[in-house]
Symmetry: C2
Subunit: 319 residues, 2 copies
């Protein structure tokens, strides 16, 4: 299987998102020509360098639900990094079509466009939620059964299956990343962002969904992108899945306490109770990362450090 | 979780197909009111009893790709048995949208219709192809990773994920059946049917795709339906997956020899060579069936007997 080819243009769907924009900058730093495909529903232009100033960057305002709007971006590309998706797991439970359309059908469109343009390598941002409630921690990539608890998780599993089938049927290479909780200052969703938003509205009281004992591993967007590049460059095909996370985890209680401390320490923390924060929440998550560390990557920051960095960045921006 | 409720109407999608029609008869025999939803693309009206004569049976000519065409059949139902799908794995490789639309999107539509009508139990016909090329035989339900080799397999994995997510998010019960090769005289696809069709066209020569050493387990449609009913009645929720197969397997070479013998023994068997019959083929398949046998079901016929019965039935029909 071909190693990552940066001599040809690289397509990044969701390239204006919190993870995508950091990936785009890393690819530009390596001299690649980058074509971003984004519908700017959660991605933001200000996350990206100005394409007027950076000639190797182009931005296509298109929606992956409609193949004709972005298909031309695939011409001559050496790889497609498919990150575009609905980022809000809870919203997917309220609108059952959301993850089907933006996730599964979107991925099918991206793969079909890549196949029609003979793009040899597709890299896909999946999630640890494909494991459902695992009974093994840390959870390895070979874990089964895969019984997702949310429609978001179902769309990630469906997309993985499509990547696998396209790779095997049409001779492409497929690289699948199963993300832990990826956090960074540009995120627009997730527990840390939610806590800050709640404290902006009501500075005296922080309501935490669940009993606070939900415990997961948090990886910075920088570490995440570094790991993706290592897997792309050093992995072997035709289809590989990589867990991306840290070796430790952090509880929701610890996160709540850090956010309160970073915002002046005034708020009282109140727990709604129960072992899950919300329908579809996976309360315990710790991924086995031996496969990606064997390729030479190691997380620069632990889960606790990643939380600290993100909390400080959001607190600084707030004040 | 509720046991199977036959006091309320039962919906069977794909109910006019080779497996569906036998399920429909079994449900009618148990006194159920049955509503068949079928688009008659591969299902046939003559597989079913005449609804004019059997008042507990109704047939809706509808396509699961469009929810509005079949949604009314869900009203008041106690369970939905979702069997409708594209039955032709190879065609799905040539038409990449086929399994996405008839499989994944169809399943999402069936689940959403069931949810809107508060149907408490969905049963889904998945396939052993979700295991991709497993490295463990017999393959248990907990096997991972799930890396399908065909778009048909991708659509089955996607549908399983949707069943799991709907069950967990909306309080339904989901029962997933991972079928071995299901065979019977009413099949319109599969290796035995293909061999008979080839010999009808050219009686002197039987071309076999691959080296003939592909070896899989074959289960009769009758045994398959009996197992589905046992799992539905005795299984526990919220989501269960059951492998349905036999404990032995039969090679493609053995099947070819039996078909040639049953049709006069004149044809020369020619192998195209290679360990796979065709793109997307899974050459080795043997499922661990301990989970379903623990509920009290056991296959009446071995794989070899199932092949024999089907070969004889097709040979009798031919002469």
């Amino acid at each position: 299987m071909t190693a990552l080819d940066l001599g040809r243009p690289v397509v990044v769907t969701g390239g204006a998102g919190a993870i995508g924009a950091i990936l785009v900058r890393a690819l530009l730093d390596r001299g690649a020509t980058v074509r971003v495909v984004d519908n700017f529903s959660s991605g933001r232009r200000e996350h990206l360098p100005d394409p007027e100033v950076v000639p190797h960057l182009s931005v296509v305002d298109a929606d992956i639900r409609t193949r004709s709007t972005f298909e031309s971006a695939m011409a001559g590309a050496g790889s497609v990094w498919h990150l575009a998706a609905n980022p809000d797991i809870r919203r997917g439970t309220e609108e059952p079509n959301l993850d089907l359309e933006h996730g599964t059908i979107g991925t099918a469109n991206v793969l079909e466009a890549a196949r029609r343009s003979d793009v040899p390598h597709v890299l896909f941002s999946s999630s640890s939620v494909v494991y459902g409630f695992p009974t093994q921690f840390p959870t390895p990539e070979s874990y089964g059964p895969l019984m997702p608890q949310s429609l978001y998780g179902a769309s990630k599993l469906a997309s993985e299956g499509l990547v696998s089938a396209y790779a095997h049927c049409y001779g492409m290479r497929g690289t699948i990343f199963r993300f832990a909780n990826i956090i960074g200052p540009a995120m627009t969703h997730g527990v840390i962002f939610d806590f800050f938003r709640k404290l902006e509205r009501a500075p005296d009281r922080l309501e935490v969904l669940g009993d606070g004992r939900q415990s997961k591993s948090y990886l910075t967007t920088e570490d995440c992108v570094a790991a993706m590049l290592v897997a792309a460059e050093r992995g072997a095909g035709p289809v590989e899945a990589y867990n991306l996370g840290t070796r430790d985890r952090t509880s929701v209680r610890e996160i709540a306490e850090r956010v309160v401390a970073a915002t002046g320490g005034r708020a009282t923390i109140e727990y709604t109770g129960g072992d899950r924060g919300w329908t579809g929440d996976i309360p315990q998550q710790l991924l086995a990362i031996d496969r990606i560390t064997a390729l030479g990557w190691t997380p620069r920051w632990t889960s606790t450090e990643a939380v600290d960095r993100t909390v400080r960045a959001l607190a600084d921006r707030r004040s």
